[in-house]
């Protein structure tokens, strides 16, 4: 600890110390109650003097904006975040678009391959220009909807339940859903906005319908 502040208290209170000397006094009084008391007295005396100076009457601003570390960095952090968002979101969107398009193209290619290499059955949907092509043993299905502007849900109507199988998403004006691994289903339906818009009855060769 440095020496006690003594007469420096008065100099401090009057503003007659330079910045470094004042910092030394601050550091000392933080740990020395006696000197803090001495300084407090000098400050009271000096304030008695300052209070005799002209007083200017102003309303205080709402409050002191005390900058925390976060406040000081907030502008920087926000700017970086904004740049990341502005730069990143379009890329993310394009990447997502690209991925879904790739997935659709892959599904389409796989479906084509299935249709070209294996024999299959087909059934038309009532109420919509749509058709389902499916394996004779029900192991795969390809649903194709023409003139589709929006995605349609393809559901399996089973025991009074509508079980969602996936969405037929339009590319151009044809929507398609390929189910590569499936099982025997006798009734399929297309749903749009939560409503059944078309249904198809599927027949199989050997097994009887439930």
């Amino acid at each position: 600890m440095n020496a006690h502040i003594g007469d420096d208290a008065a100099l401090y209170a009057l503003g007659a110390l330079d910045d470094a000397e004042r910092a030394a006094v601050d550091a000392h009084v933080a740990g020395c109650a006696a000197c803090a008391g001495l300084l407090g007295e000098a400050e009271r005396d000096a304030t008695r003097l300052f209070a005799c100076e002209p007083q200017h009457h102003v309303a205080p601003p709402a409050r002191v904006r005390v900058q925390s570390t976060w406040t000081r960095w907030r502008a920087t952090v926000s700017a970086v975040a904004a740049i990341l968002i502005v730069g990143f979101l379009p890329s993310l969107y394009l990447w997502q678009q690209n991925r879904s398009m790739n997935a659709a193209m892959n599904a389409q290619a796989a479906a084509m391959h299935r249709l070209a290499s294996a024999s299959f059955r087909s059934a038309d949907f009532s109420g919509r220009r749509a058709r389902v092509m499916y394996a004779r043993d029900g192991s795969w299905y390809v649903v194709i909807v023409r003139d589709a502007r929006r995605a349609l849900r393809v559901v399996w109507m089973h025991d009074g339940n509508a079980i969602d199988l996936g969405a037929a998403v339009p590319h151009g004006n044809v929507a398609m859903l390929y189910l590569p691994h499936s099982h025997v289903m006798h009734r399929l339906a297309l749903m749009e906005g939560g409503r059944v818009v078309a249904e198809a009855q599927l027949a199989y060769e050997s097994k009887s319908q439930p």
Partner: protein, 202 residues
């Protein structure tokens, strides 16, 4: 905190309280204010700020000479106080004089840094009619200070005037008066004590 502290304005009610007329009424809660301030409580800081702002602003204005700088200076000084939680301890006494001296030192620092020393001297020694907002009591108060200063023996009065009106550091004063540093310091200290005693309680 005691029940008394609960009657103090919570932080964030500045505008409401301000409209109810000038300083915030923290009736006889000085004790709590100092305690809260020492404990680095936000409410105490806000209350002290609103209560003493006119005095702090005037202290800064009287050194800096314009409203914008004065506001900045008060703001910066208080923000610095808030950022150093151990700057004020209970042993220091009144928060009011602690803050006034903080703000004034900040203002003097700014003037010294910008090399406008002569303006500081002019401003502090200026005749009151320069200021628009002056009340008649300001002139009387100023005359009282001058009278109290005049009553001091010259060896105490001169260094005190150089510090107070001249905005000079003790090193500069010692050089100017060609007197030892220790002597200058003790004369200023004694002079200040006498001056405050002569001015009496506010």
């Amino acid at each position: 905190m005691t029940a008394r502290a609960a009657t103090l304005p919570p932080p964030g009610f500045g505008p409401l309280l301000r409209r109810s007329g000038g300083s915030v009424q923290v009736s006889s809660a000085d004790e709590s204010l100092e305690e809260g301030f020492a404990a680095h409580r936000r409410w105490a800081f806000d209350a002290a700020y609103r209560r003493y702002f006119p005095l702090l602003y005037s202290s800064a204005y009287n050194v800096l000479g314009n409203a914008e700088d004065a506001r900045d200076c008060v703001h910066d000084a208080l923000a610095r106080v808030w950022r150093s939680p151990h700057a004020y301890t209970r042993a220091r006494g009144a928060v009011r004089s602690f803050l006034v001296v903080c703000v004034r030192n900040e203002a003097i620092s700014r003037v010294r840094a910008s090399g406008r020393r002569t303006r500081l001297a002019e401003r502090l020694a200026a005749e009151p009619h320069e200021h628009d907002e002056l009340r008649i009591t300001d002139t009387l108060e100023r005359d009282r200070v001058r009278a109290a200063l005049a009553a001091l023996p010259p060896e105490q009065r001169t260094p005190l005037e150089l510090a107070y009106y001249g905005g000079k550091t003790h090193t500069e004063i010692s050089r100017e008066l060609d007197a030892p540093l220790g002597t200058v310091k003790s004369r200023i200290a004694i002079g200040l004590r006498k001056l405050a005693a002569a001015l009496g309680e506010p």
